[in-house]
Amino acid sequence: MNVWLNRFRTFDWRNTWPKVVAAVPVIIFLLIPVFTQGEIVLNMLILSGIWAVAALGFTLILRTGQFSLGQAAFMAIGGYTSAILSVVLGWPWWVAFLLSGIVSGIVAMGIGAVVLRVGGIYFSIITLSLTEVIRIIAQQWEPVTHGSRGLIANPPPNIDLGPLHINFMANSIPFYYLTLLLVIITGLVFWRVGKTRMGGTFFAMAANQTLAEHEGIHLMKYRVIAFTLAGVFTGFAGAIYANYLTVISPLIFGLWQSIQIMMMSIVGGMSSLVAGPIIGSTVLYVLGIQLAQLPIYGISQLLYGAVVVLVLIFLPKGTGLIDLWPRIWRKIYKEVEDYEIPGEARQED
């Protein structure tokens, strides 16, 4: 018994506790299907997960100092790629799914290489216009996309893993894990990126473009890398979205969705590359769903706007909801013992 406890003593608890607590939500999310299999809860979590991936991509691009209003377009590209390949061309579902992210990434790289040299507000407007162009193409290219009536996606094939039969059509749980997997992989990749030299470079670019350029940082290169990475994962998110809702249509991927993604990212807090967007998108998506149940017409939009404005006012300096995290820990440690958390700035990643 003592030996067991002693082992734990070698732990740096102060550093570990916040991480343990941070890991708890991950475990809880993994276990959710054990507690509840209600379609409503799972539906809400799956969709917030999908938007979370899109918001993660947006945050990564924002880190390089670019403000993209075209993230919904990459969701559309991913969704349409997966649906067209599997339905119209009859390719295997998983191949189509993998290609959806790759195609979206390639498109992002191509567009990024041309468009990213324009900076600031002009970049936002170009991406906005691109979203509209892609939406109109999806709407008008009837023979392939079925226009605005939407393309019905094929369900993924059943998987037999010994005793486990995973049937994607029976309930939402397989999709729940697929989405969670995507969120975790995206989170891990972006977290690694943030930890490496490249992450530091992104920070430098966001902080001061001119200085970064003078330091010898090739702005274009890193911007294209960030844009492509975001494109790949946003494409996957779009593919899951299309397949989960069984349909993809041009109307859902427009300017308003890009704006939603942006608000999720900013409300969550961009000081953190991973946790912020996830928290932001979950909170805002669930909030939106709950508000929509209110019986007064229009009140949901009003409250949604109000909440976002209030978060921006009361959590200033670009921190968003994620800023509450170190604040809480500081408070706890102040009470337990006057201890300053080492590396606090990095903790929330």
Binding site: E39, L47, L164, I173, Y297
Partner: protein, 420 residues
């Protein structure tokens, strides 16, 4: 630190396995049997409908009337299945007027609110909604449209794949009847058909073919959705020699078209929309008093119908609803569009359940196939084989009204004829 990673990894794997096992168990789980009650059993119906965004007025317009109709229907004894008396409830969930929203709302209705049937769904997200309702074995009563054109005629609808979809409002047949009614009222005029690019699709090929066969001349123009400036389109209609511009269902666009053709001086062109008239006062206000005169709408004031026979009891109930709503809101009610939708769908469904003696979807579908049903828009006997294969299409007459002063008056009517 290493240990920490190890523990996390173990926990994550454990949780995943637990979740997967749970999912595997859930797949084999059976639904609980419905509880046996002594009083009237509640049969829940629901509808995804736009309640927010620019299309919201459409979703909101019918709300009070539907609730009042349900109330009267239940007061009159509901409906009987075998010896059990059933009462009806009707829930609406916002679908944001998108196919995805429709699918999400249908999920909420079926799994959250426990609805046993989706009725009166009129948006164009039908494929998405039926992809949710069919695996859940929930009946979907909707309208035809581009989405409902079967694959054999160049559409996307597969009757074999979606056996629980009933087309209780035939939009194509209705709009064709509308054109015939227009041709009756304004013979010899070329009809300009105005629709947004959202409405483009195989459905119009079917309509065009029928119009060609009937010898009605027409001209198509497509506008971008949410456009406000229709001057270029009106100019092109004028150049094509159109005497009527009939919009395929977008009231806002029809308003703007009617107003702008008046501004341009084309006063001889009659405008109209394939939708019910909400309130003539709104037309006068938005389009302008002079410009709104002669505006054509679909008409559901069934008591004025001349060529379609409707059960007098149903007619009386519809009138009663309008009177009651007028009493509640304290203003005279002129809206009749609701009559053709939810009440009609509900009547078909409840009569089918009485006939089938069961609330099982398969039994209901069997009863609907080839059965005769008395709806708010007439009595129809439908054999599915004649129309779209297995899905069943009910009838709606093309009845039109026109704005005269600040009143809506009956214009003309063309009884329903099924498509070949």
């Amino acid at each position: 630190m290493r240990k920490w990673h190890g523990i996390t990894a173990v926990l994550v794997i454990l949780a995943t396995v637990l979740g997967l096992v749970a999912s595997a168990c859930a797949g084999g789980g059976e639904k609980a049997a419905p509880p046996v009650a002594t009083g009237p059993v509640i049969y829940k119906m629901g509808c995804p409908t736009p309640l927010s965004g620019p299309a919201a007025p459409w979703g909101q317009a019918g709300h009070d009337f539907y609730q009042k109709w349900i109330e009267l229907f239940n007061q009159a004894g509901g409906f009987k299945v075998g010896d059990t008396t059933y009462n009806v409830t009707y829930t609406e969930v916002d679908d944001e007027n998108t196919p995805e929203g429709g699918a999400a709302a249908a999920k909420q209705l079926i799994f959250g609110d426990g609805c046993q049937a989706i009725v009166a769904y009129w948006s164009w997200g039908m494929p998405a909604v039926q992809a949710v309702t069919t695996p859940a074995k929930v009946l979907l009563l909707t309208r035809t449209g581009n989405e409902a054109v079967p694959q054999s005629e160049g559409g996307i609808y597969d009757p074999q794949k979606y056996p629980y979809t009933v087309f209780a409002n035939p939009s194509h047949e209705q709009i064709i009847s509308d054109f015939k009614a227009i041709a009756k009222a304004y013979p010899g005029r070329i009809i300009g058909i105005e629709d947004s690019t959202l409405g483009k699709g195989a459905g119009w090929d079917v309509v065009d073919k029928t119009l060609d066969a009937a010898g009605i001349k027409y001209h198509h123009e497509w506008y971008t959705p949410a456009a406000t400036d229709y001057t270029p389109y009106i100019t092109k209609f004028k150049e094509a020699g159109c005497g009527v511009i009939y919009n395929a269902g977008d009231i806002g666009a029809a308003f703007d078209t009617a107003k702008q053709r008046w501004d341009m001086g084309y006063k001889d062109i009659i405008c109209g929309v394939a939708g019910p008239c909400v309130d003539p006062a709104v037309y006068n206000e938005v389009v302008g008093y002079d410009a709104s005169q002669g505006f054509i709408d679909q008409y559901f004031g069934i008591w004025d119908y001349k060529e379609t026979k409707i059960d007098p009891a149903i007619m009386a109930m519809a009138k009663q609803v309008n009177d009651d709503v007028a009493k509640d809101t304290g203003a005279p009610v002129v809206y009749t569009g609701w009559i053709g939708w939810m009440p009609s769908h509900m009547l078909i469904l409840t009569q089918a359940m009485t006939k089938a003696g069961s609330t099982d979807p398969d039994a209901i579908m069997k009863a609907i196939q080839g059965g005769t049903f008395s709806t708010t828009t007439g009595t129809y006997t439908m054999s599915g084989a004649k129309t779209y294969g297995s899905p069943i299409v009910f009838g709606t007459p093309g009845a039109l009204s026109q704005i005269k002063g600040d009143k809506e008056v009956y214009l003309s009517e063309s009884p329903w004829t099924p498509l070949p």
